[in-house]
C-alpha cells in the first residue's frame, strides 16, 4: 500500500516538476535573449537607419522600414508625423503624446539650424527627422517590457522554485492519498472477509461517493452480502442435515434396545450399536467442522494454555480408559503458562483431536508427549507420538478432511472419522495460529501448533 502511495505521489510530482522546469527554462531563455538584445542595442543605430530610409525613399521608405522591423527588435519604435499620428496608425501612449505636444510647440516652429546629416538634429528625449519636403517626423523608442524577465529576477528565483515545488508536492500528495486510501480500506475489508468476518462492509466508510470508487464499494458490499448469505445457508443446511440424520439414528438405537430385550443379546446387535455410534460421531464431527467456519458470536478471551491442555489431557486419558486403550500414556508437565487471546472452545477441540489421533496411532505401551513453550510473541504446543508416522510426502495432506494416509487405510477404518485433524487445523486457524506435521527422529508423528501471544 505504502509503495503505491509513494509511486503515485512521486510520479505526479515529477511530472509537475518537469513541466515547471521546462516552462521556467524556456521563459528564461527567451527573456535572456531579449535582455542581451537590449544590452547590445544603441538608440543611434535605429535613428541612423530611420534617417537613411527617409532620406533615400521618403515617407514610404520610412513607413516600410518601420513595418519591417523584426519582431525580436528590442524596442518598439514610434514615428509620429506633424499631425501627431503614428506612421503605422498605432495608438500613441498618452504620456508620450503629452510630451510630444509640448516638444512640438517649442522646437518645431523654426527649422533654421541644420547639421550633418542635414535632417538630423538632437532632440532629447525625442529625435526629429526632417523629410525631403521639410516635413518633420518625431521618432521615439520605447523599450519592450519583458514582464517575465523582471518577475523572475535573481532574488526571487529560488523562492519561487521552492514555492512551486511545495504547491506541486502537496497537490500530488493529496491526489495520491485520494487514490490509495480507498484501496487501503478495500484491502482491510478483503483481509477481514478472508479471515471469516463476513459481516465486513466498506461502503459506509467511503462516505457518499458517487464515483467509480463509490460504485466499487457498493459492488464489494453486495458481494460480501452474497458470501455471508451463502455461508450462513451452508451452516444452516449442515445443521439441518445433521439434525435430520440424527432423528432416525435415535429411533434406531431405541429399536435396537427393544430388539435386544426380545431376542436376547446377539453379537450382531453390538455391531449395529457400534456402527450407529460411529455414524453419530461422524455427524457430530461434520457439525463441529462446519461450525468452525461460521461467524462467531463469542469474542476472543484470555486463555491459559497450560490449564486448557491439562484439562484436555485428563479428559483424553479418561476417554482412553473407557475405550480400553489402557497402556498408552499421555505426558504433559507444563513449566510455562502462556496466556493468549483466543477461543477456548476451538482450541480445546483442536487439542482434543490432535491428542486423540496421537493416542490412537500409538503402539501398545507407547507414550504421547505434549509440550508447551513460550517465546516473546508466540506459544508453541507440540504433540509427539511413538507410532509409525506417515510417509514424508503425505505430511501436508493429513489436515485435509477425510484424507487417509496409504498406510493407515486399514487402521483408520476402525477409529476416527477422518475429520479430527481437519477440525484441529480450522480451530487453530480461527485462533490465527498455524499447525504443521513432521516426523520425530524415531519416526513418530509430531504435530506442532503455534499461536500468537
Amino acid at each position: 500500500m505504502r509503495s503505491l502511495l509513494v509511486r503515485i505521489f512521486l510520479s505526479f510530482w515529477l511530472i509537475i516538476a518537469i513541466t515547471i522546469g521546462f516552462a521556467a527554462l524556456g521563459g528564461y531563455y527567451y527573456s535572456e535573449q531579449i535582455r542581451q538584445a537590449i544590452e547590445n542595442y544603441e538608440v543611434s543605430d535605429t535613428v541612423i537607419a530611420a534617417s537613411t530610409a527617409l532620406d533615400t525613399k521618403g515617407r514610404p521608405g520610412l513607413e516600410s522600414w518601420l513595418k519591417d522591423l523584426p519582431s525580436k527588435y528590442p524596442v518598439t519604435v514610434f514615428i509620429i508625423d506633424q499631425n501627431g499620428i503614428d506612421l503605422l496608425r498605432r495608438h500613441v501612449p498618452p504620456r508620450i503624446a503629452r510630451i510630444l505636444r509640448r516638444f512640438a510647440q517649442h522646437h518645431l516652429s523654426g527649422s533654421g539650424h541644420r547639421r550633418e546629416p542635414r535632417n538630423l538634429r538632437p532632440a532629447r528625449p525625442l529625435t526629429q527627422l526632417v523629410g525631403p519636403n521639410e516635413e518633420v517626423y518625431t521618432l521615439f523608442v520605447v523599450p519592450k517590457r519583458s514582464a517575465y524577465g523582471e518577475w523572475l529576477n535573481e532574488q526571487t528565483k529560488p523562492l519561487m522554485l521552492l514555492f512551486a515545488l511545495l504547491v506541486s508536492a502537496s497537490v500530488s500528495y493529496a491526489l495520491a492519498r485520494a487514490i490509495t486510501r480507498p484501496v487501503h480500506k478495500f484491502r482491510q475489508a478483503t483481509v477481514a472477509i478472508a479471515e471469516g468476518h463476513l459481516g465486513t462492509r466498506v461502503a459506509d466508510s467511503m462516505g457518499k461517493r458517487r464515483d467509480e470508487i463509490g460504485l466499487l464499494a457498493r459492488d464489494f458490499d453486495s458481494m460480501a452480502d452474497k458470501l455471508q448469505r451463502a455461508s450462513e445457508q451452508q451452516v444452516e443446511l449442515t445443521r439441518n442435515i445433521s439434525h435430520e440424520l440424527r432423528s432416525p439414528l435415535a429411533r434406531l438405537r431405541v429399536a435396537l434396545e427393544l430388539a435386544r430385550r426380545q431376542a436376547g443379546d446377539l453379537p450382531e446387535f453390538t455391531r449395529i450399536e457400534t456402527e450407529a455410534e460411529r455414524l453419530d460421531n461422524l455427524i457430530g464431527q461434520i457439525l463441529s467442522y462446519s461450525r468452525l467456519e461460521s461467524r462467531d458470536q463469542e469474542a476472543p478471551a484470555p486463555v491459559n494454555l497450560a490449564e486448557l491442555i491439562q484439562d484436555v489431557v485428563e479428559n483424553v486419558r479418561f476417554e482412553c480408559r473407557s475405550d480400553g486403550i489402557e497402556d498408552v500414556t499421555v505426558q504433559f508437565d507444563p513449566t510455562e503458562e502462556p496466556i493468549i487471546q483466543g477461543y477456548a472452545g476451538a482450541l480445546g477441540s483442536a487439542m482434543e483431536n490432535v491428542l486423540r489421533n496421537a493416542v490412537h496411532y500409538s503402539p501398545s505401551g507407547g507414550a504421547v508427549m505434549v509440550q508447551l513453550s513460550q517465546s516473546s510473541n508466540q506459544a508453541t504446543i507440540t504433540v509427539e507420538d511413538q507410532g509409525s508416522g506417515i510417509p514424508d510426502d503425505e505430511l501436508e495432506n493429513i489436515f485435509e478432511p477425510f484424507y487417509r494416509t496409504r498406510g493407515a487405510v486399514a487402521a483408520a477404518a476402525t477409529h476416527g472419522t477422518g475429520l479430527g485433524l481437519a477440525i484441529a487445523k480450522r480451530a487453530v486457524r480461527k485462533n490465527s495460529g498455524t499447525i504443521q506435521a513432521d516426523l520425530t527422529s524415531h519416526g513418530g508423528l509430531r504435530i506442532e501448533i503455534r499461536l500468537p501471544i
Binding site: 431405541v254 455427524i283 479418561f318
Partner: protein, 241 residues
C-alpha cells in the same frame, strides 16, 4: 405447581410418571415401550406449548426435554418452567452443540444427554435423579453455615431466613458442600451425589451447576461463605470471616 417435586419412592415397584417433550412422535412411542419395564411411565408431548400445559395439569416427577422443538424452543420451555417449578429436567441436545448444553444447564436443567442417546443410558439417568430425590431427604438433619440453612426434610434452603430457590441438582451440590464445609470435594464425588452418575470426559456440567449455585448464593447476599474452585481437584465451601 409451586411445590417442590419430591416423591418418596419407597415402593420400588410404584411407577414414576415422566413427561417427554419431543417432536419425534415415533421416538416417544418407542421410549414409552422401552421404559415401561423399569416402572417408568412415559407421557409424550410433541411441542413446547403442549408440554407446559401438561406439566400444569399433571403431576410429573421428571421432564425429558428436547432442545430442538418446533414453535417455542426447549430452552424457552425450560426458562418458563423454572419460574414456577423445580421439577428435575433432563434435556436432549445435539451432540457437539456445547452452547445449547451450557445454556440449558444455566437455565436450570439438571442433566443432559446428547441425541442420539443410548436408551439404557437415559433409563440410568432418570433412575439416578429419581433415586436422589427419594433418598436424599432421609440422609441427614439440618445443615448450617453462616447465614445459609439447609433442611433436607423440607427441601428448603434459606439465606438470612429468606427462602432461596434451588433446582434439585443445586440443592444436592449445596448439601454435599455443606456436609464437608472447609474440605475439598472432588468433582467425581459431586457428580455421583448430585447427578447420580460418574463424571464423563469433556463433561463440565457440574461446573455449570456450581457456577449457577454460586450466582444464586451471591444474589441472596451471602457474604460469609463462598464456593472455591481447587483446580484439578474439586470444589470447597469456605466459611467467611
Amino acid at each position: 405447581m409451586t411445590h417442590d417435586v419430591i416423591v418418596m419412592m419407597n415402593d420400588a415397584n410404584r411407577a414414576a410418571s415422566i413427561l417427554i417433550v419431543d417432536d419425534d412422535q415415533e421416538l416417544g412411542e418407542m421410549l414409552t415401550d422401552f421404559l415401561a419395564p423399569d416402572h417408568l411411565e412415559l407421557t409424550a408431548c410433541l411441542s413446547g406449548e403442549d408440554g407446559l400445559k401438561a406439566l400444569e395439569a399433571g403431576n410429573y416427577e421428571l421432564l425429558i426435554l428436547d432442545i430442538m422443538l418446533p414453535g417455542i424452543s426447549g430452552l424457552e420451555v425450560l426458562k418458563r418452567l423454572r419460574q414456577k417449578s423445580d421439577i428435575p429436567v433432563i434435556m436432549l441436545t445435539a451432540r457437539g452443540d456445547d452452547i445449547d448444553r451450557i445454556i440449558g444447564l444455566e437455565f436450570g436443567a439438571d442433566d443432559y444427554l446428547a441425541k442420539p442417546f443410548n436408551p439404557r443410558e437415559l433409563a440410568a439417568r432418570i433412575k439416578a435423579i429419581l433415586r436422589r430425590a427419594s433418598t436424599g431427604s432421609q440422609r441427614s438433619g439440618r445443615l448450617e453455615l453462616g447465614a445459609i440453612t439447609l433442611d433436607p426434610r423440607t427441601h428448603r434452603v434459606t439465606v438470612d431466613d429468606k427462602p432461596l430457590r434451588l433446582t434439585g441438582t443445586e440443592f444436592e451440590i449445596l448439601r454435599c458442600l455443606l456436609e464437608t464445609a472447609g474440605e475439598v470435594v472432588s468433582k467425581d464425588q459431586l457428580n455421583e451425589r448430585a447427578l447420580g452418575r460418574r463424571l464423563l470426559p469433556f463433561d463440565r456440567s457440574i461446573d455449570t451447576h456450581i457456577s449457577n449455585l454460586r450466582g444464586k448464593l451471591e444474589q441472596a447476599g451471602t457474604v460469609n461463605a463462598s464456593i472455591q474452585n481447587q483446580r484439578g481437584i474439586g470444589y470447597m465451601l469456605i466459611p467467611g470471616q
